[in-house]
């Protein structure tokens, strides 16, 4: 059983007891514990269930590489699944539950899968569940989904906040171990700006656990001094609890800072995403120990030797009282020695190497530990925890030599440098056969915007494993990074360090070497996804030879640890099965993030009120107070209608239309684009932009214009007012303002840069109000100021003046067919002007109206609407707008395109009005059917509805649509099937339903 020892523990504070709960049980730990160390300290060996077979799972590692110890944490709005116990700091009141079992962790029905495991090899689901067809969806898949998945889904809105932080720096050093600290100092002393990130809550990494001397002091003390020194340097920023999650192009690096995970509920963001632009990145990310592949290596109590050592030294927790150590390298001995020195019983060190190790072996022997060389673990027995171990010869098939009862196994298969960040952006690896690992290939580093390398590996992340070499390598890395970032190097004093000499590792990919299939079927590679040695061998046998095929076929390395423990063992197994060299097989692609990061952090501040910008006109608040039902248009919101209490939105729309036609209505038109175009070539420029002629427009006058893109399609429309010889004001649609301004700038800057024209987007400078209806003039006359009579202020002209004391620019234009003035005032006075109109308009029955009333009124007049009649595939000719296409101009944007075969096809659908025979409203988007079907068996069509409304003015449904040769077929009746089987019969009519001669707008 695992226990908390009465003394020791460099990271815990025994004075501060912390109580927490696991699966409802109250447990105790100390300040400084991780959830994992606290669980082990309470002898909670069993912490979860595996993904596929629901095998009992215990803590196997001590850091980010942990594949098993994933828990549901917290409750309600702070609940989170799949929290890794080994990287979760213990805090008071922490409550965690284990995952992926039913009904309980101890007794899990899903464990039946384990019994059937022989029938569920890699990829079994590709080979079965094929018949009967419907069973996959209704029987097999639901079952598989239920038993898959790990943590519970959160069920409420997140109570926490998140944020981003941008910064630019010279050097980012990733990893706060001895290598990272030294690299940071080496870079900083040159004057470079340095940011040092460490994912845990402590500096120093492994070195203080493994020991050794640096410059004559114990490495732990040396590190403390180093941290003090760095924290006093003004050009250095130190950050704990901050993991570099990914390296991206052009020196971009993401840091994931867990600001409040260890103190939930405290004010401030839970996570902060650091978006860093670095000239150079030093990856001092250390190395990860590999498990050994032997039968039963997944039984709770079997742990990485380094993890056993970490828990012992850092938290005074012993993984077991009677431990067996299995290794193929000297480092494993350190764990045995540490255990022995802590008074734990080490039953055996099984060293796969025939001749064993060096100095460390000697010391272990001196401490009286029994060491068997050339020996291996044949099999570990035990269900929910280790009970006994079968010992066999390493060079053999696994014949048991003896059985030893024990309660924990520490395994060491050698170390693999953490090369993720190096690889994210294209850094290549090289296989070191001597040390049996992939390490960064310095000659093929990721390159940045300048084509130069920008990532420098340091220390064990660079494949340098000995303390003295690590120190040297780290200093060199820091200096190289500073130099590449443009800083001058001074001579640096060499650092003296004394590691214990080690004898070489002997690669062990299967233990014992020639294990029979029954053992290989119990030797785990991927603990979480239940991938075993036999599965990889099966994939190879079936031709899934690419390492990517094997990964995807077996799911090796696809679990939440992304194969930190399993990938190297897995591909070595694959290489062996293919009879290929390991480097020839290669690795799968390393993708960010290094360990999973919260979606909340990725989203940052953008949620709720600041999810997206919301653009407001000067009258926005008034609309809100007066019952506006909103319609999003781009980032604006426009009132769709102003519903009164007890009134439906539809009724409101009807009322607004009627009132505008009979009395006077107000529309907030501020969102319409207003772009000032000025210069000697302004007319020439607009002639190229619009399909119609603008240069001929007289100052003081307005003209409706169409804009097409170079592909010929109609993209915007609006009224252009000529201010003076050199100046035009171009109105655009609401959605068009920014787009059209950008469109103008694009052509001015990139094609016609010799033209003398400036454009300025004045959309937000003015609040614009449409005063519409037969009583509009009376209202304005009451306000007083400029002369708004028909004589002095005719239709399609504009004037500057004052109204009710406001400086205004008024346009006599109409989109409703009524007498109408569009009046612009400075935005800062928009609300006041609007309120003045509302007050003055009372006696005329004034009412504001929204976009739907606007749409209905324009449809009654047969005016097209960009976005309704157009959809990006429509040319002006389709809409009967040929009158607005200048024949005189030899060029305008879209002209050439409109000469193409399909654009001049007489069979294009053309705009018409549509009236149902019974007055009903045609369904939006309905298609008119034609005889027969096309070669693909689809019903032929001959038209479609583009706009359809109930007209309160005409008391019937009216619609506009595009119909094959429509204008030539006036009076013809065509059929529009609904989606519910009903068929609407509609007559083709003139699209102008109301006031055909335009008398009303022209009064």
């Amino acid at each position: 059983m695992s226990v908390r020892l009465s003394t020791g523990g460099r990271l815990i504070d025994r004075a501060t007891e912390i109580s927490f709960s696991f699966n409802g049980a109250r447990l105790k730990g100390y300040a400084g514990d991780t959830l994992a160390s606290a669980l082990l300290g309470s002898d909670q060996m069993l912490v979860g269930r595996s993904f596929k077979y629901h095998r009992p799972r215990g803590i196997v590692a001590s850091g980010a590489e942990e594949p098993n110890a994933l828990v549901n944490m917290g409750e309600g709005a702070r609940f989170e699944p799949n929290q890794r116990a080994t990287t979760t700091e213990l805090f008071a009141g922490l409550s965690a539950t284990s995952q992926n079992h039913w009904p309980s962790l101890e007794f899990d029905v899903g464990a039946l899968n384990a019994k059937l495991s022989r029938f569920l090899p890699a990829g079994f689901y590709y080979k079965m569940f094929i018949h009967p067809r419907s069973f996959w969806k209704h029987v097999y898949e639901p079952f598989i989904r239920q038993s898959a998945g790990l943590g519970r889904a959160p069920d409420s809105e997140d109570a926490d906040s998140y944020e981003h932080f941008h910064l630019h720096t010279d050097v980012v050093v990733v990893g706060g171990g001895i290598a990272g600290l030294l690299a940071a100092r080496a870079a900083a002393v040159t004057g470079a700006k340095v940011l040092l990130m460490e994912q845990t809550a402590h500096w120093g990494g492994r070195a203080p656990v493994d020991g050794g001397l640096v410059d004559g002091q114990p490495v732990g003390d040396y590190i403390d001094a180093l941290v003090r020194e760095l924290s006093e340097m003004p050009n250095v920023t130190l950050r704990l609890r901050c993991m570099a999650s990914g390296v991206y192009d052009h020196g971009y690096l993401l840091g994931y800072e867990r600001v409040r995970d260890h103190q939930p509920g405290a004010p401030g963001p839970r996570h902060r995403l650091w978006r860093v632009r670095a000239k150079q990145i030093v990856t001092a990310t250390g190395a990860i120990e590999r498990p050994l592949s032997f039968a039963g290596n997944d039984v709770p109590g079997v742990m990485l030797a380094s993890a056993v050592r970490d828990y012992l030294v850092n938290y005074a927790v012993s993984a077991g009282k009677r431990v067996i150590v299995a290794t193929n390298n000297d480092d494993g001995y350190r764990t045995a020695i540490a255990l022995k020195q802590a008074g734990q019983e080490v039953l055996r060190i099984l060293d796969a190497r025939e001749t064993g190790g060096g100095a460390l072996m000697a010391e272990a022997r001196r401490l009286g530990i029994r060491i068997d060389c050339g020996r291996a673990i044949g099999k570990v027995s035990g269900g929910k925890r280790v009970k006994k171990v079968q010992i066999c010869a390493y060079a053999g098939a696994g014949g048991a030599l003896e059985e030893v009862a024990c309660d924990a196994v520490a395994m060491s298969g050698g170390w693999s440098p953490v090369v993720h960040l190096w690889s994210h952006c294209g850094g290549k690896l090289t296989w070191d056969a001597e040390q049996a690992y992939f390490r960064p290939d310095a000659t093929r580093a990721p390159t940045g915007a300048d084509g130069q390398p920008y990532v420098v590996p340091a220390g064990s992340a660079n494949g340098v494993m000995m303390l003295d070499a690590i120190c040297g390598d780290a200093v060199e890395a820091g200096r190289a990074a500073a130099k590449a970032a443009g800083y001058k190097l001074k001579k640096a004093a060499a650092i003296e360090a004394e590691p214990a000499p080690e004898t070489p590792i002997e690669p062990v990919w299967m233990m014992p070497r020639d294990a029979r299939v029954q053992l290989r079927m119990k030797a785990w590679l991927d603990y979480q996804n239940d991938v075993k040695v036999s599965d990889v061998q099966l994939a190879a046998r079936e031709g899934y030879e690419s390492v990517e095929h094997t990964k995807r076929y077996t799911t090796l390395g696809m679990a939440t640890d992304q194969g930190k423990l399993s990938n190297i063992n897995g591909l070595a197994t694959l290489a062996d099965a293919l009879g290929a060299e390991i480097p020839a097989v290669g690795t799968t692609t390393f993708r960010p993030p290094y360990t999973p990061i919260s979606m909340g952090a990725i989203g940052g501040e953008a949620r709720g009120a600041v999810f997206q910008p919301l653009r407001r006109t000067a009258m926005h608040g008034w609309h809100e107070k007066n019952g506006a039902d909103w319609e999003p248009v781009g980032h604006w919101r426009r009132p769709y209608a102003f519903a009164r209490s007890g009134e439906s939105v539809h009724d409101a729309v009807m009322r607004e239309v009627k009132n505008t036609r009979e009395n006077v209505g107000l529309l907030d038109a501020s969102t319409l684009g207003k772009i000032l175009v000025k210069g000697p070539d302004a007319g020439k420029f607009l002639d190229l932009l619009y399909t119609n002629m603008m240069s001929s427009l007289k100052p003081g006058k307005c003209r409706y214009g169409l804009m097409c893109n170079e592909n010929g399609f109609l993209v915007d429309d609006g009224v252009v007012a000529r201010i003076d010889d050199e100046t035009f004001l171009c109105h655009t649609t609401t959605g068009g303002a920014d787009r059209i301004h950008a469109h103008m700038e694009e052509w001015l800057q990139t094609e016609w840069w010799d033209m003398q024209v400036y454009a300025a987007n004045l959309t937000e400078q003015y609040a614009q109000v449409a005063v519409v209806g037969p009583k509009a003039r009376m209202l304005l006359e009451k306000l007083g100021g400029m002369d708004v009579s028909a004589e002095t202020f005719p239709f399609m002209t504009w004037q500057d003046g004052t109204l009710g004391g406001f400086d205004v620019r008024a346009y006599r234009i109409s989109f409703s067919g009524e007498l109408s003035y569009e009046i612009a005032v400075p935005t800062a006075q928009g609300l006041a002007f609007w309120e003045a109109l509302v007050a003055a308009g009372k006696e005329f029955g004034i009412m504001p109206y929204g976009t739907e009333a606007l749409h209905i009124m324009r449809a009654e007049k047969g005016f097209i609407m960009i976005g309704d009649e157009t959809d990006g595939t429509i040319i002006p000719q389709d809409l009967g707008l040929n009158w607005a296409i200048s024949k005189k101009k030899e060029d305008f944007l879209g002209k050439r395109a409109q000469e193409r075969a399909h654009m001049t096809d007489p069979n294009r659908w053309k705009l018409v009005g549509l009236e149902t025979l019974d007055g009903a409203v045609l369904p939006d988007g309905a298609y008119a059917v034609a005889e027969g079907v096309n070669p693909n068996g689809q019903r032929n069509t001959q038209g479609r509805v583009t706009s359809t409304y109930y007209s309160p003015t005409l008391c019937k449904g009216i619609a506009m649509g595009l119909v094959l040769k429509g204008p030539e077929r006036m009076g013809e009746v065509i059929e529009f099937p609904g989606t519910d089987g009903t068929v609407f019969k509609a007559r083709i009519v003139d699209p102008v339903f109301y006031d055909k001669d335009g008398e009303k707008q022209n009064v």
Binding site: S161, E163, H164, F165, H166, L167, H168, K193, T237, A266, P267, G268, P269, R272, R275, R277, E605, A606, A609, V610, Q612, P613, L614, R615, R616, T617, H635, W636, L676, K678, G679, P680, Q756, Y758, A760, L762, T763, E764, Q765, Y766, G805, F806, D807, P826, T827, A828, Q829, L831, A832, F833, A836
Partner: protein, 188 residues
């Protein structure tokens, strides 16, 4: 004629930094060839300052001139004087190809101040705000979360910035979130 109002009526927020909407300002967009004598002369006579260099922001007690692009300046002045200054510019630039236009009502100006000001803005913009790169006298046009903005420094702990008026509330809400209590970064 009624009293013009700024988008947020000088709203304020105090967190790890102080955020203020600073009311109405006279703002004039001036497009033109900045190397031409006529433009330089006009700027000097109307704004009282020399032509700013690339990314330079020059302030006087009555206003200032902010470099916006190689052919665009933003002239700042008291709100009440803006029309007169536009007229003066047009007069001074008669016969020169240029565009001077009042955009006072199309923008909203904020001030973000305090020791944490750089940290707060760095949560929202990708621009490099390190003291050695950006300080008083300079302007940077960039992104404030999802909208465009231009910012400069009044002193080493005070930013001025403007964005479009329609997104004033969004910008203010953003700055409040970025300056929320407990969100200290402590980088700058």
């Amino acid at each position: 004629m009624s009293e013009p109002t700024s988008a947020l009526n000088r709203a304020e927020f105090k967190g790890i930094a102080k955020v203020e909407e600073t009311g109405l300002h006279g703002m004039i967009t001036l497009r033109g060839d900045q190397s031409s004598a006529a433009i330089k002369k006009a700027v000097l006579s109307v704004a009282g300052t020399v032509m700013p260099e690339q990314r330079e922001a020059i302030f006087s007690d009555t206003g200032g001139v902010v470099w916006m692009s190689p052919d665009e300046l933003m002239l700042l002045c008291p709100y009440s004087e803006v029309e007169a200054r536009v007229a003066a510019l047009n007069e001074a630039l008669a016969g020169t190809h240029a565009l001077a236009v009042n955009v006072s009502d199309a923008r909203t100006v904020f001030r973000v101040s305090g020791p944490a000001a750089r940290d707060v803005l760095s949560k929202l913009t990708p621009a490099d705000l390190s003291p050695e790169v950006f300080g008083p006298g300079q302007v940077r046009r960039s992104r404030l979360a999802q909208v465009s903005a231009a910012f400069w420094m009044e002193d080493d702990e005070t930013f001025g910035l403007f964005c479009f008026r329609s997104v004033a509330q969004y910008a203010f809400d953003l700055l409040k979130v970025a300056a929320a209590e407990g969100s200290e970064v402590g980088y700058f």
